[in-house]
Every structure is written in C-alpha cells, then in structure tokens.
Symmetry: C2
Subunit: 356 residues, 2 copies
Amino acid sequence: MRPTVIDIAREAGVSLATVDRVLNARPGVREKTVRAVNEAISKLGYVRDLTAANLARGRSYKVAAVLPDTESQFLQSLAEALTEAGSMAATSRTELHLYRFPAEDPHALAALLGSLSDRNYVGVALMAPETPVLRDAVRGLRAKGIPTVALVSDLPNAGCDHFVGVDNRAAGRTAGVMIGRFLGGGPGQVMVLGQSLLARDMIERRRGFDEVMQRDFPGLEVLQSLETHGSPVTLRQVVAEILTNAPQICGIYAMGGGNRTLTQVLADMGLSGKLTVICHELTPHVRAALIGGEVTAVITQNLGHLARSTLRVLRAKVDHQPLDEGQEQIRIEIVLRENLPALPDFSAQAPIDRTS
Amino acid sequence: MRPTVIDIAREAGVSLATVDRVLNARPGVREKTVRAVNEAISKLGYVRDLTAANLARGRSYKVAAVLPDTESQFLQSLAEALTEAGSMAATSRTELHLYRFPAEDPHALAALLGSLSDRNYVGVALMAPETPVLRDAVRGLRAKGIPTVALVSDLPNAGCDHFVGVDNRAAGRTAGVMIGRFLGGGPGQVMVLGQSLLARDMIERRRGFDEVMQRDFPGLEVLQSLETHGSPVTLRQVVAEILTNAPQICGIYAMGGGNRTLTQVLADMGLSGKLTVICHELTPHVRAALIGGEVTAVITQNLGHLARSTLRVLRAKVDHQPLDEGQEQIRIEIVLRENLPALPDFSAQAPIDRTS
DNA sequence: CAATTTTTGAGGAACGTACCTCAAAATGAT
DNA sequence: ATCATTTTGAGGTACGTTCCTCAAAAATTG
C-alpha cells in the first residue's frame, strides 16, 4: 500500500493538519517541523495522489482551444483531433471547448480571449498569428493565472507557457534531405511552393530547407518560392506553366497550403510518380495523393498526438506539475506510401462502456 | 458544472442507490427503472468520474512489466523508458514494477507470471518469445482477470489483450523503400544482417523488406540474411570479409541486433558515409553512428511512447474502458541525421513539485 | 386479498486529499 | 512569571463515487 498523509503524520510525529500545512505550503509551521515532515515524506516515499487532491479541491480541467475559422483541411482535422482528445479525457475531469475566431480580426480574438476567464476556463490552447493585441491578451490571461499554450505555430514573444507543435526549421531540413536523397543529389531543379496561414511557419521551413540543400546538395538548383496567397486558380495556372516550360524540374517542395490544387495539376498533367514531391501535413487529400503517386513523401505532425499533448500540457500547467518533455516533443514524422498509418475505422468503434 | 450521480437520481426520480445499481450493473432493478436512469444519463450527458470511482473502489493500477534479462542496449533503454513512464504516472495511482527473467528459461518465466496475481498486480506487460508454457501462463493470468499485453514482439496465440509495438512487416517494407530510394534503384547488392532476440520480429521484417525490394527495386540484388546469433567476433569477421570481397555491395539492412559491432566495422574500414546503411532501434550507439555517418537511416519505435502506451493500455483494460486506437498505434519512425530528436537533458530536469 | 418476493429508498462509511475552525500547547518577549 | 504570539492538534465537512445494510414500498403469486 502506498503511504498516505496519515502515514506521514504518524511517521513525523505531528498531526494531519500540520502535514497538510506543509504539503500545501500554508504558513504557520516552524522550520524544524517542516523539515521533519519532509523527511517523513522522503523516508516513506510518499507521492501525493493528485486525483484525490483534485477531487477534494473540486478542480476540473475546463480548457478552451482557440483556432482561426479558416476552412482548410488541416484546421478541420486539427479541430476533430482536439474534440476527440477532449471526449476521450472526459472521464478524468477534463472538458475541452472549441472556439473559432475570424482569421483577419485580431481584436475579435482578443475579446474572445478576454472573455474566457469569466467563463471559468482554467487553461487555453491557442493557434493564431502573433500581433501586439494578441500579446496583450495572452499576458492578460496569464496574469489571471490561466496557463496558455501556443498550438502549431509558436508565439515566441507572447509569453506562452508552452509551445505544442513541431520545430518547423527542422521540418524544412528534413524535407531537404528527403528530396536531395531521393533525387540522388541531382542534377535538376526543385520548385518550392508556399502559401500558409501562419507566415512564421513557412519562413522557418524555407530556412531549414535551404540550409540543407545548399550544404549537402549543390547539384540541385532550388528555385525561388512561389507564393500564391490563397487563389487556387492562380496556383493552378502558375504551376502548370512552369512545369511545362521547365523540363529540368525533378522535384517539388510544397511548404504548406494548396496541396489539393497541386496534386490535381500533377495528376492532370500525367506526372504522378514522375517527380519527387514533398509536402507537409497528412490530410485526407494528401493521403490520397501519396497512394496515387502524386506525392512522394509527407512531412507531418500527428494531430492526434498534438491534441493529446495539448491537454496533457495544460493539465500539467494547471497542476503546477513538471512536464515529461520527451512525451510532449511533437515528432517530425516522415510518411511514405509504405508506412502510411492505417486510417482508424470509426464505424467499428466500441461504444463507451459506462458499466465499470 | 458536470452532472453527478445525484443529478441523475433527481432527474430519473429514483434514489441514489438505484442509480448506483444501474451504473454498476448490480441486480435487482426493474427493466423499466433501468431505462429511466439511462435516459436521465444521456439527457444530462453524465460521464462517470473515473478518478472518484477508483478512489472509492480503492483501486490503484499496480502493474508488472516482465522482460528478458539480456543486456542489450535496446532492452536497457526499454527498461529505462518503462521506469520513467511509471514514475511520471505515480501521481495518478499507478505503480509499475520491472521484472526480468532468464532469457533461455521459459519455466522460470511461467513461474514468475504465476506468482504475480498473489502479489496483487492488476495488469502485466510482457516481452518474451512465445512458447507453449508461456501461453498457459498468460491464459492463467487472464483467467484471474489480470489483463496482459504483449510488448515489442507480438504473441499472437497467447491470447493477450493487446499488442504494444510496431507492425514489423511494415517496418521491413519501410526499410526496403528507404534503401531502394536512397540507392536510386540500383544497380548493386544489399547485405542483410539478422540477429534478434525474438525471431518472430526478424521474420516479419525480412518478409516486408523482400516484398518491397522484389516489387519496386529489381535492380538491387538482396543477399541472403547473415544470421550471426550472438557472437560479435563472428559478426565482425564475416562482415569485414564480405565487404572486402564484394565491392558491388552498396547497402546494408541490419534487421536487428549487433548494430554496435556493425558500425564499428564500418568505421574501421573507412566506410562511414560510403554505404547506405539502414538499421532498427535508435539506441545511443545507433544515434552516434547516425551522426558519424556509419548509419544512413534508422527505423525505430519511440520507446517512451511505447512505455506510456503500455501503461495507458493496461489502465484502460483494468477499467474496462475502450482504447483510443489512434493513440496506441506505435508509429514506425524514420530517423535521419537531420531529424534526430534532441536528447532530453536529464541533468536539467525539474524536481517533482509536491506543493500544489 | 394475503403471503411472498422483488424492487426501491434512506442512510452511512469509506477512498485520499483539501480546507476550515477553535482550542490547546509551546515559544518568545518583558 | 506573565503576557502575547506563534505553532500545533483535534475535529469536522467536502469532493464524487462505491458498496453496504435495513426497512419500506411495490409487484407478483396463489
């Protein structure tokens, strides 16, 4: 049996109330007594039962996830992953609510964040572009003791408690190695496409990619990034034109966004499997393109992992518990057709068992 | 506020005792009343607080992990990962104890497993070669209601509740694609080395590897596996000899075991970076070899993830809760020098905070 | 409709912790 | 030694659930 506070009290020769005062750092205990209690704790190897503590405190983990309301497949998958993670954690006093904000309106976002503390949220996960208004809003949350984590895209100057996402520079480097190796080091040209929600990510990826290409694959010429903000039509035209006129292009690095359009162009031009194409984020479309041969490899982060990590980090912050850094490091995953993870079969899912 | 059993009782117009009887499937409740209670449950969206339930039940998750006592780096890392995961989970009523058994003695293993139920273990994680004696022992555990999961290597006929580990056939396929692509499809020869604790893993890997090589890379000749059971000296000699006499060899697939010796030979022969070498399991030595260039890519499973998954699965089984399949699927990870995850810095780790 | 059986209700103790109050004891200052 | 102050103890209630007992109510049987 694990020792309890009662065992500690007996061992230290003090009352339960005193042990409690020491454990919860309440005042009014002599230095000497504190030491006696701590000795008993380490002698018996006492570890506080957090579940009982939270029960007693009446604490539950009510957290909010705040995302832009853009309709990209990535965001939709992320929202699903978060909802799923939230419902799986419902049995352990955890509630997660999803909020969306108009992507172009930092003030609406700030207002939303400001309102969360009144609604008794104890933690917030946030994916948003960094603006001064946002920084203030995050600071406001933290001032009220509400831990805030940045999701997917870091907010280095907002003072978040944690960043849940991948190192995009390393992701770009990985893309570089993959494309360089798969192309045998050249010769040839590599086209780079960029169109992302959060500019920061793309800059980091490009930086990492160039780093590797310059150093390790001088035989491959990397073209300037094509930034086709938004419009699929433009993207379609530009890509088709370039591919037609530049036969030296043997690889494409799609840094983010527009994967659907890109793979369609490739399929339409009969280029499936002919080029080495690397992109980011394993959305349903990209998955299909991987199977179809339009895409060679995908650099991705596991959104399920990301979502669960978000919840774990927020809980740990709320509890003032240390993080298991290893667990919370979101790995950069390389997915080829051959290691494509099976799609979970939702239809066959077991119902939640309430009987035990 | 989340609804509690009291709210359910009020809503259904019955007493707390009846709600409890329904929730815990105790007899003596009319069909009609059961329905009324269940309706109240779904109407209010009640979800049982498992932490409070376990507290009341006096249930804690005391589980045993049983591993062979071989001194490989892989097993040592696995043991560390399990211990670490156990200590991180200590605050949530979880205890994990590690047991080792003499690798060549199935009867000692069976005896060990038999003794676990008397010591109040509620779950067992097991890594062992499958033998008839083992199957009986596992059946015995399950008969006593102790869930058992197979670790790293599946035990398909032992009737375990779950398998925690990667699909080795898929891992072999991935190795095949990587080596094939990196070598540009040939021409050349690929050497295959095998020496594993658990024969089953290796057979599966080889099968997956051959599958891909035959289908997608006919230009590469795959040599017969070199099985150097145990002896590093033999391995050293054989590998050195073959590499000297067969200049057509451009790739090596090391399916398991002996990585340390292999990379030493390669370094000694001045072949670092010259061959495409793929091996399994990111142990400290392999990590060094990746940096040094003796190894090109590593197919690995994240042992931290494996260990935490083991605990989660066992807890879910003990609670008769459904698994989050997505979370428990151990991904096949491809590690190159460029996406080598940072080694966690243990010296800088924060102490456990007991004050909140 | 009485006797029997089944179903239900009311209540309490327990799990390990938090947090509160009030009084008693120990300590420090004068 | 007296007083004020600090420290400690004893005891209670609460969190949401489990599990127990005993009696009351309702349903079923003959």
